[in-house]
Point group: C2
Chain length 406, copies 2
């Protein structure tokens, strides 16, 4: 069994880097704070006797040797970047649970046949740079290193520059790194486990996701003298599209999701009719056919709205991954470890994307969820119980040991 | 008659300070560029033999002595601050037309009984700081100097600090400065004159205006795992209010106006359901009773939407002035000057607020409009014809001479 207190203390220490007033964490990908967080975790891994390699997209692999070191490693991991108003657990838990597994094996002098690796992947959140789950996406070949390097934040800084600046642009070619099996522990980020009063969520699949940038182009003009019928008001046309995103999601229950999380208005002056409004659209579903229908309804609605309003509307898909069912062997290992340890459990479909969906393209993969308070995540008040975090880590330990062999 | 070319050249020279790539001007109130613009105009005034005084809110008065210098001055003026995507003419024309009147009087050695003054008022646009028309508002006592000093831009800098910083916090107490009559020339900023093919707009009145900040408070949560029916999505509630602003304006034709020009989303991340959305509302009408009804409909709609959605919505009125009918004597002077000069003319209600509405609280006031291209203003492509600008300036010259007496 792992040391729950040590796991909790590591989480709290990492959460101090970028801590916010409201008790959350703001540690955006590839900022100075991200570098500090990375340095702390790498330091811990080295102290635990692990060797560290970094690839060209900044993914970090921390390795505990196996007795047969030629075997592909049994890997676990997640990310340590956060949302602008993020919490202490999203991602960080998965990385530090992996570290706690290694510390526990060290405590008991347990050697595994296959090596154990703990990874943290670059820019999982996708807040500062798109695509989301960038490090694992490049690693599995979902998109190229060049594409990722060229991604810009709102201030025009690129991933390539920022990786270089914080000293985490490694040498290893992404993907040039075998994986035997991949596990990821994570807070659920939704209310299902808490509502059902279960401790461990076994994750059969992750919803697919489609992200768009939508830009409405009208004509700036003065808010006073310009008669209502002569306006080309980009804000008013955007406000027609925003509710449709939710309406489409509601037409595909129970797993349809639709969100407009980001909006920028140009020139953003109160007495100027907006000439341009740019906003994001996030559509999800666990069924790819339904996600495609949602995509088609969105596209058709945009075309109709453009025709009716006479304004230009550009809809650009900026990220997409299909729903990802996990591998039965790995899901099975999670199930049997949970049963052995006697935790209450249920299956939970993941609405959030995770690095595990990209790892799943290269190796048998699966995930372990634990409850989070009120199902709230991507919020500074995100919270989780130490006992639940410990339970998830114990399941991880036993499931990994089953694969890595003692 | 004035020198149209000299007027045009002055406009083009001033427009170089803060010139934008698209041919417009960005010279926000109390920035370094505003200081440069102010210095240029003050330099021209001194070269034309005028004396300059500055009051505590940064209004600048440039005076040409009269033969009876104890008479209250006949004043003209406007503003030289611009929108973030502003044009070359809005405001600037009114100030430089005044300067051109003085230069013309100098050329012909004409002395007036009453002194002539040309003013430029601080922060007319209200983009960087609210209230709008700040300098003339403080001057006429519509709100206090302290209130204006405390106004903050989005970066938290105050009007008081910024005035001090650019060296335009003068000594004179605002309003401690008599006015005999006030004229203001301005581009129409709407399409009426151009549509009717008239050169001079006589302005009987300016619409009243009500400005609000509206803040919707929901709950940030993850865009993927959070089921649709459990969301408290501030963006979706904001998107219900935005079209109502236009619907209300459309219920009070022909002078009802409604605009949402500004929006800020928090935390503005594409996979976070927005926890807070803040936006501006601009309502106008030329009839105060109708403007009040629009205000009441807005308030009632907000209350209903808050009750229906269960989210918190705060509506705060941040600016208000009632419709302003101008003084018959000054409007008459504009009419007779236009007739004498033989320009085509019509009456045009002003949808934009102007410093003249505050001057009107202290002295008989009126305005002269000239056409602008396609009725477009608050846009970098704002344009006007040299011949029209010259015509408006000629009307100003003759109307002012009628009041100031030769
Ligand atoms: N787990 C997580 O928050 N991933 C970010 C990508 C997403 O929006 O699902
Ligand atoms: N003339 C002008 O653009 N004034 C700004 C205030 C308003 O929005 O009417």
């Amino acid at each position: 069994r792992v040391d729950g207190k040590r796991l909790w203390d590591a989480l709290m220490e990492l959460a101090q880097i970028g801590a916010t007033e409201k008790g959350g964490v703001k540690r955006l990908a590839l900022t100075d704070l991200d570098r500090q967080g990375r340095d702390l975790v790498v330091g811990w891994a080295k102290a635990a006797g692990m060797t560290v390699t970094i690839d060209q997209i900044g993914n970090v692999f921390m390795r505990r040797a196996g007795t047969d070191d030629a075997l592909p490693p049994v890997m676990t991991g997640s990310h340590i970047d956060t949302q602008p108003t993020g919490g202490k657990f999203d991602g960080n838990y998965g990385v530090l649970a992996g570290l706690e597994v290694v510390r526990t094996l060290n405590d008991h002098g347990i050697r595994t046949e296959a090596p154990i690796e703990v990874a943290f992947w670059t820019n999982e959140e996708g807040s500062r740079f798109v695509p989301v789950m960038m490090g694992s996406g490049v690693f599995c070949g979902a998109f190229t290193l060049e594409h990722a390097y060229a991604a810009k934040d709102v201030d025009g800084r690129t991933v390539g520059e920022e990786l270089e600046r914080i000293g985490y642009r490694g040498d290893q070619a992404p993907g040039d790194h075998p994986i035997g099996a991949y596990f990821e522990t994570h807070i659920e980020q939704g209310p299902v486990l808490e509502d059902a009063d279960k401790v461990i969520g076994v994750v059969p699949a992750v919803m697919g996701l489609s992200w768009y940038d939508c830009t409405v182009t009208g004509m700036e003009a003065h808010a006073g003298p310009t008669p209502m019928h002569l306006r080309r008001d980009a804000m008013q046309v955007a406000a027609k599209i925003v509710p449709e995103v939710v309406a489409i999601a509601n037409r595909y229950p129970p797993y349809g999701r639709g969100t407009v999380g980001m909006m920028q208005v140009f020139p953003n002056s109160r007495n100027v009719i907006p000439g341009e409004v740019k906003f994001s659209i996030d559509l999800r579903n666990v069924n790819d056919e339904l996600l495609n229908r949602m995509h088609e309804e969105m596209t058709a609605f945009i075309d109709r709205t453009a025709a009716e309003s006479g304004l230009g509307i550009k809809l650009e898909r900026v990220s997409y991954y299909p729903p990802c069912p996990f591998h039965e062997d790995v899901v099975g290992a999670v199930r049997s470890a949970t049963a052995k340890l006697g935790y209450s459990t249920m299956d939970v479909v993941s609405g959030a994307g995770h690095d595990a969906i990209y790892a799943a393209r290269l190796a048998p993969s699966g995930m372990i969820f634990v409850p989070c308070k009120d199902g709230i995540s991507h919020n500074e008040i995100e919270d989780a119980q130490p006992a639940h975090l410990e339970a998830g880590c114990n399941v991880l330990l036993h499931a990994m040991l089953e694969r890595a062999k003692v």
